[in-house]
């Protein structure tokens, strides 16, 4: 008898054991983000009830704003899980919207989106290879890449936005819908599902966590840690560029600054969602709920009538507070 949980005598016993395991291994951490989401929702529903927070239109708006954050957050979860960080995602996202605009104009809407994501993955590959082979922390490499990519994006169309004229592109990657379900929501679910399955059901996902938790141990077991770190950074850049495609689809333009300022929001969403900022633990579902939390906060602050400058201040403070709380919870376990 090596495992007392092998043959639970009843469903109740199994459930108790499951709960037990969750509690002892991870504390309440996995649930904090869901609780926070509910609390913030309830809070805004009460204080902003006369400002239209609960209207269908506003809730849809929150969903639309959460989409690019969520898509980037799923990618970032893998970078953080591998104990890397990708600071270039905001500029990659913006650059990608321009690449998509150019691609759609020249090669059609599917090819345009594919090209944008492949180019994004290429930037991630560059990030990863430099970080791993030249042994520069990904923090610095991607910080440099942030500057390079945003500069290139600014040169690309001389600071002008590039309009996209392709109804198929809008239908699939923008304001379209499948029946009553908006396509942005569908993409969020698809990206989240893929991310979750990759993290939990594929060897690569487990290896990403292993490398992030203890790189030398992973290496001692023969895992190619270089390859894992590079591909994790590719995942975050590819996700960021897909977020750029979705922003381009929603706004019908490519522009050098679309999503550029989402970096901090994304990091906050991922960390609030239970992913460890220093590797070894990740939650894709948490990252998505964290993104919804961040989108609700954005929306609520606007509805409260705060000036843009005050929104910035409030958002920055909230992010620090939220991350501090979730990291304290993580340290306790």
């Amino acid at each position: 008898m090596t495992d007392s949980s092998v043959a639970p005598t009843s469903k109740l016993a199994a459930a108790t054991q499951w709960l037990d395991r969750r509690r002892s291994d991870a504390g309440l951490r996995p649930y904090v983000v869901y609780l926070a989401a509910l609390l913030i929702f309830a809070l805004f529903a009460i204080i902003l009830r006369d400002d239209g927070f609960l209207t269908a239109n506003n809730l849809l708006n929150i969903g639309r704003q959460a989409t690019p954050i969520a898509v980037m957050a799923v990618g970032m979860a893998f970078a953080l899980a591998a104990s890397e960080i990708d600071l270039s995602i905001g500029s990659v996202c913006a650059f990608s919207s321009l690449v998509a605009a150019a691609g759609v104009a020249n090669y059609g809407f599917v090819a345009g989106a594919v090209i944008a994501v492949v180019v994004g993955a290429g930037i991630g590959l560059l990030n990863g290879v430099i970080a791993v082979k030249v042994r520069i922390p990904s923090f610095l490499v991607t910080l440099g890449m942030l500057g390079i990519v945003s500069g290139v994006a600014r040169n690309m169309n001389n600071l002008q936005s590039r309009p996209i004229r392709n109804d198929n592109f809008f239908a699939v990657f923008g304001g379209g819908s499948l029946g009553p379900v908006s396509s942005l929501l569908i993409w969020t679910v698809i990206v989240g599902l893929i991310g979750h399955l990759v993290l939990h059901q594929l060897r690569w996902g487990r290896h990403v966590l292993s490398v992030g938790a203890d790189r030398s141990a992973a290496a001692a077991l023969g895992i190619n840690t270089d390859r894992i770190r590079i591909t994790a950074l590719m995942a975050s850049a590819a996700a960021a560029s897909f977020a750029g495609v979705l922003l381009a689809g929603r706004l019908a333009i490519g522009r050098h600054d679309l999503g550029e300022n989402l970096l901090l929001t994304v990091i906050a969403a991922v960390v609030i969602g239970g992913t460890n900022l220093f590797g070894g633990r990740a939650s894709v579902a948490g990252a998505i709920v964290g993104s919804v939390v961040m989108a609700m906060l954005n929306n609520g602050l606007i509805l409260m009538g705060l000036r843009v400058s005050d929104q910035l201040i409030a958002r920055g403070a909230i992010i620090i507070l939220a991350v501090a709380l979730s990291m304290r919870e993580q340290k306790e376990t």
């Binding site: 090596t2 059901q201 594929l202 060897r203 292993s210 001692a220 023969g222 070894g280």
Partner: protein
């Protein structure tokens, strides 16, 4: 284990490894045989861990030959060592805390399902890995309360047992153990020694690094002593006393280098 004629599992000859000006290993020779436990002894800094890391592919030796089953091998990486049937339990254990017991046992040896596409994608066959984990741990009489527990929830002894279980499960031929019972309680240390005996009885060639003379006389057949990067002695444990071994370790005496 594979052939009766050759019982030599691993042979190391003239192994040298330097770190900048420091000669960590100088012309070291070592031989491991199937079904026998060899102790690797020496003071701190004698080169024991360096030798183990050269054999397990963590370090590349500067010169020298490593033969596995009589064939000279270049062990360029830990993966190369593992694919030659050499498993190592490092001092640090190399267990991954956030993963569970099953995932640790099968790390980088995962079973996949879903045919060729599944293999290419690396779709984990969790059910089969779980069943086989139970089988592996049962065979080695390792008791872990729950296979779904993450490693960080286990005690020091349990973590060690999982690390040794992993080495035993995959090291069909050669298992290297770097201080596997350090920092363990008396009872847990005894369990580790039982595990080592099980491995030996299964025909595995075991190398055991330890500072504990009791363990040497308990489970080891032969002992190789390193002193300042060189082989100071190689002896049959039954033919020497603990005091002799200590004398070799401290360098007070040098023994027969060519038994």
């Amino acid at each position: 284990m594979t052939s009766v004629a050759s019982t030599v599992a691993l042979e190391v000859e003239g192994l040298c490894k330097s770190f900048k000006a420091v000669r960590a290993l100088d012309q070291v020779a070592l031989r491991l045989e199937y079904g026998r436990v060899t102790a690797l002894l020496g003071d701190n800094g004698a080169g024991k861990s360096t030798l183990v890391k050269c054999i397990s592919g963590v370090y590349t030796p500067d010169s020298g030959v490593i033969k596995v089953d009589g064939a000279a091998q270049t062990i360029a990486s830990p993966e190369a060592a593992r694919s030659l049937g050499i498993e190592t339990v490092h001092q640090t254990l190399a267990v991954i805390d956030p993963l569970d017991v099953v995932e640790n046992l099968f790390l980088n040896r995962e079973l996949t399902r879903g045919g060729r596409l599944g293999t290419w994608l690396g779709v984990l066959d969790k059910k089969r890995m779980r069943t086989e984990s139970k089988e592996i741990l049962g065979r080695l009489e390792i008791r872990i309360p729950s296979l779904r527990r993450s490693m960080s929830a286990l005690s020091g002894g349990q973590r060690q047992a999982v690390a040794i279980g992993r080495a035993a499960a995959w090291g069909q031929q050669i298992v290297l153990l770097d201080e596997p019972a350090a920092a363990l309680g008396v009872e847990q240390a005894a369990r580790v020694l039982d595990l080592i005996r099980n491995l030996r009885d299964a025909g595995v060639a075991v190398l055991l690094i330890t500072h504990n003379m009791e363990r040497v006389t308990d489970v080891c057949d032969r002992a190789v002593v390193l002193h300042q990067g060189r082989k100071a002695a190689e002896v049959d444990v039954s033919e020497v006393t603990k005091d002799d071994l200590v004398a070799y370790i401290t360098g007070a005496r040098t023994g027969n280098n060519d038994p």
